[in-house]
Each structure stands twice: as C-alpha cells, then as structure tokens.
Symmetry: C2
DNA sequence: CGTTCGATTGAGGAAGATCAATTAATGTGG
DNA sequence: CCACATTAATTGATCTTCCTCAATCGAACG
C-alpha cells in the first residue's frame, strides 16, 4: 500500500501555452505538494525502514510528560495535538495529516509537552531521534527535510494565532474548513466532501469558541450555500468551492463601508 | 509515571534539608538559565565569530517576503515578530529576548514570513544558515542547540495559543506581564521594575484585544496592588511579586464556586 | 426500545469592542 | 523655555459578539 512511491519526477516540465485557469494552476500545485510528501516518505523509508505503527481513533502516540526519544511521521490518518496546562486546561493546538511530523515539542525539554491523539485509523512511522541525527550527519538532504518540517510548523502556528486573534467566530470556522480541505487537496485527497473527525466541542476548543458557536457558524455557512451537510450525519460536509470559503473570510474582514458588488 | 528526569535544567540533586524557600529555588533556576544562554552565545561566538549588528528601536532585521539566508541570535535588546497576512492584517506573534533565535520561519519557504522589529537598542548576531549547517555537521553540539531553540519556539507558540484561547482579557494581560518578567529573570535582569517597550495598542495586538481593554486590565491590576505604575510615564511597571500574577491567572480560571480561602 | 451522546436552536447575560471625551506625556519650532 | 501640536493612555457610555443555560431533536448503540 505504501513505501517506495516512485520517487524522483517532480514535474520539471513547462506546461504548454494553452489555457491555464486558476483552478488548473492550483491543481498543479497540489499535485506537486502531494508528490513532495510522497518523496519525503519514500526517502525516510529508504534510509530508516522505520518501524510502522497502526493506530486507531483515540490512540495516543505520545503524551505530555513522557520522555522524548522519537519523532513520528504520519503515513496515513489524522491526528490532533493537545496541549495541557498544569491547571488542567486542555487545548487542541494542531491537526496533523499525511506527511506531517509529530514530536518536535519534546526536543527542547527532553519530554513531550503535548498529547498526540489519533482521530482515525492510520499508520505512523517511528523515527528514533538519535538515529535521525546520525543519519542527518551523513545525509544533508535529511537534515533539510527535518528543518523544513520544523520551520513549517513554526510558521503555521503563527498563522493559527493570527486566525484566533483577528477573525470573527464565523470566519474562523470558515477558515478552519478551508484549511482542512486544502490540507486534503495537497495530499491528493478529495475535498468536495470531507468528513470531520472532530465533534463540535473539539472544533470549538481548537478555534477558541464554544460548541454552540461552532454549530451556529456551520448553520450560517450552510444557509449561505458555502457548505452543505450530507443527508445523514452532520459530520460529513460538502464544500462546493473551497475558494468561496476564503472569499467569505476576506469579506468578513472588510469594513462594512466597502460596497459588496 | 515516568523515568529519570535528568536533562540539565531539572534539579537532579536532592537538596539538603535546610531552608530552601521557593524563591531560592527559583533564583537558582534563573541563574542556571542565564548561564545556559551565556554558554550558548559563547559557543556561537567561538565557532562563527558572527557578524554583529547594532540595531535601534524600529529597525527591521528582516522582513516578510525577503529571501531567507540568515538566522539571527539576540545578544541584547528586544524584538517583536510581526506576522503579516496578504490582506493586510498584522499581528505581533512573538517577543524575543537575549539568547533567542530569529528567522526559523524562513527555512521552509526560502523566504521569511514575518517582520522582525527591534523595540530597543540592541545587538544581533548574524549566522549564515548554510555555514550553520556546515558547522553542525562537524559539531553535533551545535545542532542540538539549534534544534532545541526551534523546539522551544514551537512549544512556546502553543502556549501562546493556549493563553489566547482559554484566558480572559485581564488574565491574559497578567500572564503577559508574568511572561515578560520571567523572561527578564531568566536572563539575570531586574524584574521588580520593568519597562514595557510596547504601546497599549501593540500589547493588545499581541494579546488579541483592543488597547482600551489592555488599559482597563492594567488599571484593574494596579487597583489590586498586583502592579504599580512608576510616578512618571505609564510604560514603567513595578511588579512586587511575579508569583502573585501567576496566582491571579489561576484564580481567574477557578470557577466561582471554589471557595477562595 | 430506551439510553446516551452529539448537534441544533433559542433566550438572556456578560465580556469585550466601539465610539467618544478627557488627560497625560512627547515632541517641535519659535 | 514656552506655546502648541501630536501621540499615547485613561475612562465612560453604548452596542455587539459570543458565552451560558436550557430545551429539543437526531443518531448510534447496547
């Protein structure tokens, strides 16, 4: 099912002149992103032949306070990262998809500072950090990968903070759906119909609002036709156009005096 | 629950019986932290003899969109990291003190994704990333330093998100002051009287609230005697006991039904 | 088939934003 | 050094958003 997805071959061809609408460019970017993730996994597989661990919804891959020793890379499935304060507060601070790394937070203090919880069945690759470092010394390419992953995480955390601090509740929910859909798209998965693996309470926790507010926001988005609920179950959400969600976020930022044509 | 705390940083010696009040333990931890920062700077200086750059309030060390090439380490001064959204939103997403690294966000995309702005006169050391990598290959100790710095940043960003998502405005301001004071303490600087180098608007931007709310929160904290304003100028703030601020945050979390003895 | 858990929706209230007026610091040119 | 302009901070009054509490409904499960 996995390993060695034909590495190499990241579209080095210039496209023919013809029409290249925005959607085509976007698809192309997603294809490249997906390939890049596949390449990364292939390289890791080749270098480490890492131990594979199958997880099911609710499984913890590591937890706060546990001694650090491994980094993890998701081959499939979905994870949430839950930050725990000494006083008992819990917050979902990140979501992880195929190709994402887990466990960076443990490097500095020698212990993980979060829980990593599977939200679905999936496969995690286990990388011993010390072996990783040793391999990096021989193979600079690996180190580049590692640093890029950490850097991406830092940049993304900042974007999360920006969402929470500057967007209204409705916009935050829209942005969350957009982010989820785009994360899937960049991994070559369907985005017209997505299945949220989180309850309203979890989404609210992640976005810094109550579950009622999440529910109301989703209802409003559905009323605007930006999303549709699948017939059965409100966990499946159809998104006719992901870009429309981004536009909605932008519109919510625009001061009312701007004329909406 | 788990094993061997070891790793520097966690007191691995059992203290002698005698009186060791919390404040002494804390001072000792701060002394160690300060020494650790000094050691790091000394090592970097020795290995790279890095270019030094003097900055003044308002100077940008790098800005969003600029081509990535350097990491920076603060030898003195204070920086804010400002995240910029394509639509013009700006958010202060981080504060940097002596010993902190800047520029990690640029590694992944080849461009910085934030502005790094000096809030005071200071000295920044410039480290070429490629030279850094080369040096790391020879000196694993360096790589450890680098990874720890990135890891700390990831962990801290998550804590920031937690503050914004779970604390009231007053508690967030109190937590901000506590964080600032502790950052100074860990660098061996005075904390009884601190000079905020930010306007109320900047603080509010960082904490996700308006400047009026910051002002009101500070007034309330002053009314509770948790802080005092210096005679002249409201930028200088006296903090009689930093721990009292942490307690205030905890108290604000406690449901009203808890009896506060 | 009832129990439980998650989601939705409404009503009322509280925290914080917005708008506005006043005061305090900072700076500028004469 | 002072008058004046400018920017930052405070405080109050009102309004909005979101939270809290509560009732209802639907889906999943034993």
């Amino acid at each position: 099912m996995l390993s060695t997805p034909s590495t190499s071959e990241t579209t080095s061809f210039v496209r023919p002149l013809a029409a290249t609408p925005a959607s085509t460019l976007r698809d192309e970017a997603n294809r490249r992103a997906s390939q890049s993730i596949a390449d990364t996994l292939a390289l890791l597989n080749e270098v480490f032949a890492p131990q594979r661990r199958i997880v099911h919804a609710g499984d913890l891959i590591y937890q706060s306070g546990e001694r650090f020793g491994n980094l993890y890379v998701l081959n499939s499935g979905f994870f949430k990262i839950v930050n725990l304060a000494p006083d008992g507060r819990e917050l979902v601070v990140g979501l992880k998809f195929r190709g994402d790394w887990l466990g960076f937070d443990g490097i500095a203090g020698g212990r993980y500072s979060c829980d990593a919880v599977a939200m679905d069945t999936g496969e995690v690759w286990v990388l011993r950090y010390d072996r990783m470092l040793a391999a990096c010394a021989r193979q600079p390419e690996l180190l580049k990968l590692l640093h890029e992953a950490m850097s991406r995480e830092i940049a993304h955390d900042r974007d999360s903070l920006m969402s929470v601090c500057t967007l209204s509740a409705d916009a935050r929910v829209a942005d969350f759906l957009r982010y989820w859909a785009e994360s899937l798209a960049r991994r070559g998965m369907r985005t017209d119909q997505i299945t949220l693996r989180m309850t309203r309470a979890e989404i609210g926790n992640y976005l810094g609002m109550t579950l009622e507010t999440v529910s109301r926001a989703l209802s409003r988005l559905a009323r605007c036709q930006l999303i549709h609920f699948a017939e059965k179950g409100r966990r499946d959400i159809q998104i006719p156009q992901v870009e429309a969600l981004a536009e909605y976020v932008q519109r919510s930022l625009a001061p009312a005096d701007v004329v909406l044509q």
